[in-house]
């Protein structure tokens, strides 16, 4: 028993915390006199979650949100990785772009939404743009630090073996920075979800954000939680998948145990 506890201590503690939390929530609504109108309940949310998937009513919202999130994230990676690499390799590029990246990192990007709607309309394009603007700098900053942390001795070694600049880029810089790029994408996913929901609150006729907003205005607390659970679940799954990918790609960063 003691051995089992020490081997799975973290997992057991975490599971217990979640179970207790869900139980307290359920109890507060069932026996504590808290109105389900304010708090819904874990059981109600679970039943409703199964229902919206079973009757298919969630799919239009889910597809619309997934479309915006996927395009926004895709563009953030496709633009962010090369820009971050250029910033990591060239001081000129770094000094030129640094003020803009710093502004993007500290400014509330959602404030751009009205402007993006004026430029691009209220269709998916303006939302994709917001997701892109709100997450690209995370990819840029992480790629840049990934490139800059590469051991210069590895680059010099390749140069000593007569590598060209292009061969160094492909064989040293890209694989060396890859774990950082994946970490950047992982951090960007959280911002992607925030941006897509905000955009759908503000200007949408379909989407998970829109669904949450509508449900809230109709005091359908359960449906609000259904939307939140779907978004949180997506975030957790993406995070875990990318972490697993990091470990798979860069085993030397996570282990020093000789077999």
């Amino acid at each position: 028993m003691a051995a089992f506890w020490s081997a799975h201590r973290t997992a057991l503690t975490r599971t217990a915390a979640v179970v207790v939390f869900l139980f307290v929530w359920e109890a507060a609504v069932r026996w504590g006199g808290v109105s389900p109108l304010f708090l819904s309940s874990p059981s109600a949310v679970t039943v409703r979650l199964i229902k919206v998937f079973a009757n298919g009513s969630i799919w239009p919202s889910l597809l619309a949100t997934a479309n915006v999130a996927a395009w926004g994230a895709f563009l953030a990676i496709v633009v962010g990785v090369p820009v971050g690499m250029a910033m990591g390799r060239s001081k000129l590029v770094r000094d030129t772009l640094e003020p803009f990246i710093m502004a993007m990192a500290s400014a509330p990007i959602v404030a751009f939404l009205p402007l993006l709607i004026i430029w691009l309309g209220i269709g998916p394009t303006s939302k994709i743009a917001l997701v892109f603007v709100g997450s690209v700098f995370v990819v840029i900053v992480n790629t840049e630090s990934g490139v800059r942390q590469i051991d210069p001795r590895l680059i010099e070694t390749a140069r000593s073996f007569t590598a060209s600049e292009f061969e160094i880029l492909i064989n040293i810089v890209v694989p060396g920075a890859l774990p950082f790029m994946i970490a950047g994408v992982r951090l960007a996913i959280a911002r992607v979800l925030i941006m897509v929901v905000v955009a759908e609150f503000y200007a949408a006729t379909v989407g998970i954000g829109y669904l949450i907003f509508q449900a809230g205005s109709q005091y359908d607390t359960t449906l609000v939680f259904v939307g939140v659970v779907i978004l949180a679940g997506t975030g957790v799954i993406c995070n875990a998948a990318l972490r697993a990918l990091e470990r798979h790609i860069a085993p030397w960063m996570h282990t020093d145990i000789a077999p």
Partner: protein
Amino acid sequence: MIEVRNVTHRFGGANKPSLPVLDDVSLTVAPGTFVSLLGPSGCGKTTLLRIMDGLVQPTSGQIFIDGSQVRKPGRDRAMVFQEFNLLPWRTALHNIEFALKLHGVPASERRGRAIEALRRVGLEKFAGFYPHQLSGGMKQRVGLARALSTNPRYLLMDEPFGALDPLVREVMQIDLLKLLDAEQRTIVFVTHSVDEAVFLSDRVIIFRAHPGAILKTLDIDLPPRRFENDEEIKASPAFVSYRNMIWHLLKEQLRQPA
């Protein structure tokens, strides 16, 4: 033959006060010989080796290898580094294959040559291991195999055993001499270990520091195939007298205020 002609090198830019590292160094390395560059830290011996490889351009002076001036790294040279410098995301085998690829070896030959190189350093069973799974001595064997796999006429070694513990270091010295025994390769070996320099070399070039300059060139007249009786050699009067002579020179230098 490597010819170093009046090489002077300074660190720092044109506008900043610069630090002299090498001051008018000239030397030649004859084909097929093992030459050590020996000196205290700050004597510019590593910088001189990097200049020979073409990684660094000297502030003034030239390097000629087999008559043509060195301006960048070439396929006639290969370097072994103090910190091994293996790519952590490639296995031992793939690290060597990468060097062969950079040297323009056709894809069909790389695997065979990389395995042969690992076999020569006794690591063929570790071909699929990543650097983080290997000990320091094994990593440097891979580093040596990588350099030898390209079959360089000149092997440039930058304190290759400096990061290893003393026991492993002695074994590596013996194994290096065994590996090179049947060959006519030219070696330039940077070290600050007097014993290592005397044991390995045909010629030791002793440097002084701040700025780096040649203090003395000493030919080591010990029997060949020293790996066969290393303990005897190291206890022999000739070895001891070479070692004492070099120690004396270096101590004298270090006592003088710069």
